[in-house]
Amino acid sequence: MSRPAIPLGRAARLGVATAASSRSVLAASSAWLVVLAAVYAADAGPPLPALAATAALLLPASAWATAAHLAATSADLRQVLVAADGPVRTLVADAVPALLWLVAATAAGVVANVVADPHPAPVSARLLGAVLHLLCGCVGGALALALHAGHVTRGVQALVVVAASLASARLPWLPPAGPVLSTWGTGEPPGALLAGWATGGPVLVTAGLLVVTLRCRRRR
């Protein structure tokens, strides 16, 4: 692989600067804080089920923030980056601001649980909650990347994300929210197989969506 003409750090800084100036990203961030406030307004129950619930809610929130960031970036600049650095590095540069947002949103979700959930819980439960947030958020971000690469309109993107979020929350086998909620959302310790699918499923879905994104981008 040849040396990139635009180092990844510079490309990512450009993406972060673009995301930071986007009012839509700010709206998605505010919505996430409102969701956390609503969940913890009353007793949300034991920490791990509460964290599993907010992790499932992070799927559409992350998709919204990523879609907002992608809409704020320039298609022309993306072509410049692809020619200079190749499609994979450009995808990474696109993903960095989304990942930074996701890390911040995960931190907010866990801190809200620590501060507002009155039930005691070991640190491991809250670390697991953080991992669940990251997994669900990654799927949301990857879904937004794939829909953007497919040149799907913003309205249809919103419909697809809402439908995917609802389906995943309702179907216990459908990653990311379904297995997360059916394993750690009940308060009962899950079996190894279920726990493996709840953590491995989102990774597989995210990887699949990123492959779709790359393929769509190469054909446009």
């Binding site: 040849s2 040396r3 990139p4 003409a5 635009i6 510079r10 490309a11 800084r13 450009l14 600067a17 673009t18 100036s21 986007s22 704020a72 970036t73 320039s74 298609a75 022309d76 600049l77 072509q79 410049v80 980056l81 692809v82 020619a83 200079a84 650095d85 190749g86 499609p87 190469r218 054909r219 446009r220």
Partner: protein
């Protein structure tokens, strides 16, 4: 011994979806220090060919080999992000943004947005430069500065591929003509005024006439002499 090409394409073909092939079976080589001018009518596929050569899109047939990264100026839609223009140039091109306004890129005019992106692209240290109509929207002085910079890149051994409607003041280069309808079949002339002209009555203060391109100038002269104003002249294909 001929120089090894830094950019080569073999049996290249591209079409959008199931549409017509914009180009097919295209083979070309661009050596270090070589200038390739791509010409053709609107819709001939110049911009698409440049995107394929730059790697922004994959060809439907054939393959492209690039010896390094590509500095690519796409056919711009004017959608730069809401970051400072100077910051954008320095982050993309890694160079100081001399002559770039100290303003947000998205608030600049389309012409300035194009110049900002061009400035950023020309700052990239790439052995291949692929520019899609870089002179569009530039004044004569900027045109000559651009030509000088490209001459310097060519002299330094970079390969340059240009799509151009209006030729840059840059000597030499090989020409790849993609053909296409460079001359319109008919010209539509819309006149402003009242009454009749050449037996056709005006409606709502406008009179639309369709003539072959060869008769356009004579028609316009006769219309002006008859007291009509010219509203628009546009090619029909």
């Amino acid at each position: 011994m001929p120089a090894v090409p830094v950019l080569s394409a073999r049996d290249l073909g591209f079409r959008y979806g199931r549409g017509r092939w914009l180009f097919d079976g295209l083979t070309l080589d661009v050596a270090p220090g070589q200038l390739l001018r791509v010409r053709g009518g609107n819709g001939a596929g110049k911009s698409t060919l440049l995107r394929v050569l730059a790697g922004a899109v994959a060809p439907r047939r054939g393959r492209v080999h690039r010896a390094g990264p590509v500095a690519h100026l796409p056919q711009q839609t004017g959608d730069l992000p809401a970051v400072g223009a100077r910051r954008l140039v320095s982050l993309v091109g890694g160079a100081a943004a001399d002559g770039v306004p100290d303003a947000r890129a998205d608030e600049l005019s389309r012409g300035w947005q194009r110049r900002v992106l061009l400035e950023a692209v020309l700052g990239l240290p790439c052995p291949i430069v692929v520019l899609d109509e870089p002179a569009a929207g530039l004044d004569a002085a900027a045109d000559h500065r651009l030509a000088d910079r490209l001459s310097d890149r060519l002299a330094a051994g970079d390969a340059v591929v240009l799509a151009e409607h209006e030729p840059l003041p840059l000597a030499g280069g090989d020409v790849l003509d993609l053909g296409g309808a460079t001359a319109p079949d008919l010209v539509e002339v819309v006149l402003s005024g009242t009454g009749t002209f050449r037996g056709a009555p005006a409606s709502g203060g406008r009179l639309t006439l369709t003539v072959p391109p060869a008769e356009r100038d004579a028609l316009l002269l006769a219309a002006l002499q008859a007291g009509w104003a010219v509203h628009s002249v546009s090619p029909l294909r």
